[in-house]
């Protein structure tokens, strides 16, 4: 039975755990002993927990808001920078230099990325490159105003390589005759880009948006290494809150509710992408 080991492993460590977590999120009882059901209590509690969502003051705070902030800022940044670099690199020389600079950050672990950027953001201007360049003594990771932006900068730096790889590969597939035809018709460079190049790469772009969305929802390593969610929990993301509640505060029921919400968001991102690509296929067949 060639398929038996694979099947046994996914049943034991994927299928069973998913149901276990779902059940745990509506259960009560300490540790492993689920003694009864509490319905949606854990979920309701989340919305009155300021660590998850704090709305009594403007602007709202909490892990949910931080994760939304990551989606709104980091995802577009990774894709836009990737697009610019891929376009610029398309016919540039020194391809190996470009690869080295952008691809290295994407193969190293989030842990190393965090340590690298701890150096960059070090408050001491004799250690931290950023303060040396700006001539200040800013504590980038200790200041509530700059902490999330700083973490996202490290993340964007690490993720741009993937964005470049996917967009560069997509650009190779743009039909040359379509571009030439548009030029013959007198379209300017930018118009060709907007009306020919961009529409031709929309499927890989949608794919990239989806994967980045999912990645950003799961952000853990960089935050854990650089700030542990601080100062005062202001840089906590959903994945970090899940980790803290489940494994540090040992509150697996509550952690389960958080990870279920996280998973629902992730599956929703996949589902939207799938509908998008299916609609795309039908349109092409019509």
């Amino acid at each position: 039975m060639l398929v038996a080991p694979a099947l046994a492993l996914v049943l034991l460590f994927q299928v069973v755990p998913v149901f276990y977590t779902l059940r745990l999120s509506v259960a009560e009882g300490p540790g492993f002993h689920m003694t009864g059901y509490v319905g949606l209590e854990n979920y309701e509690r989340l919305f009155s927990d300021s660590k998850f969502l704090k709305t009594n003051r403007f602007p709202p705070k909490g892990a949910l808001i931080n994760s939304i902030q990551w989606i709104v800022v980091a995802v577009p940044a990774v894709i836009l920078i990737g697009l610019v670099v891929a376009l610029a690199a398309d016919r540039a020389r020194f391809q190996s230099l470009i690869r080295g600079a952008f691809f290295l950050p994407m193969v190293i672990s989030g842990t190393v990325v965090g340590i690298i950027w701890l150096f960059v953001f070090a408050p001491n201007p004799d250690v931290g490159l950023l303060n040396a360049m700006t001539g200040g003594k800013q504590s980038w990771l200790g200041d509530p105003v700059t902490v999330n932006g700083s973490l996202m900068a490290a993340w964007i730096w690490a993720q741009t390589g993937i964005s470049v790889v996917i967009i560069a590969a997509a650009l190779k597939g743009v039909p040359v005759d379509l571009v030439d035809a548009a030029r013959v018709d007198g379209a300017s460079g930018w118009r060709v880009f907007w009306h020919v190049t961009l529409p031709s790469i929309r499927i890989p772009m949608a794919f990239l948006v989806t994967t980045q969305l999912v990645q950003v929802l799961k952000v853990f390593d960089v935050v854990f290494v650089m700030t542990r969610g601080g100062p005062a929990g202001l840089s906590r993301t959903l994945a970090l809150l899940f980790y803290e509640q489940t494994f540090v505060s040992i509150n697996p029921q509550y952690g389960a509710a958080i990870v279920v919400i996280l998973s629902v968001l992730i599956v929703a991102a996949f589902a939207i992408a799938r509908r998008f690509s299916e609609a795309e296929v039908e349109e092409n067949n019509a």
Partner: protein, 291 residues
Amino acid sequence: MPETGGIPFRGNRNGLTNAPQIIFAVVLTSAIVLWSLPVIGLVVNSFRPYTNATSEGWWTVFTNPVFTLDNYRTALSYGEIYSGFVSSVLITFPTTALVVVTSAAAAFALIWTDLPYRRALYAFMIALLVVPPEITLYPTLVILKGVGLVNTYPGIWMSHVSSALPFGVFLLGSFFAQIPRELIEAAKIDGARTHDIMLLVVVPLSGSALASLATLDFLWVWNDLLRSLIIIPDQSLRPLTAVLANSAGGYGQYITVQAAGATLLMIPPLIIFLLAQRAFIRGVIAGALKS
């Protein structure tokens, strides 16, 4: 030929003309510098004496080139970093081998045998691609605790392998499916048994897909932090990611040792990347889906 404003139209095939190209060249150059500096900083600091690293920025290395190997000596004689590196090796290599073998066996059985319900099983494996690993972590810990495999290598191997399997079956399955049916049929007529068909026909034809899977999985496992923190709570058995993540920022006077540890952690992915860049990039393009 059409000309715009009397200037002969020259642009690249994505429709960008000279002016944007110059802007792009400038943007590209500054981006390359900006993207390289943080890594260079880490590596330079790992070779700097502690007093230099904290009293003058690493960028002064060009005017004051003082280097030392002490940070690496300390890192390697310092128990945690050394044992972390060993753990990372002992976790990553077996896991990668197991992922490739179990995925290949399952993908072959689901594509090229008459296993009952094979289509449904294949669809089921693919559907598991959307399950985020996070939702399985706590129950995995509970299950591994139940069988006494927390803080053991087999425990984390199984956890990693099960998580990588849906992607492995997806990647290899879509590759195996492209192998011409005639080849398989011919082997059957020649009397080849199922195992022979897999090992003598399918596997030799699938080198590039197997390499992509091995490369990607090696990187996922080597770079993993969250799963290691949970499945291996014992400090002395933890991989290097978890060791460094725990001490990050808290090392105080050991920041140069930390830099050496991080550089060591960076080396294997770098080697893999240089050796198997094409396999890696193919894999990323084929399935950024999973990660």
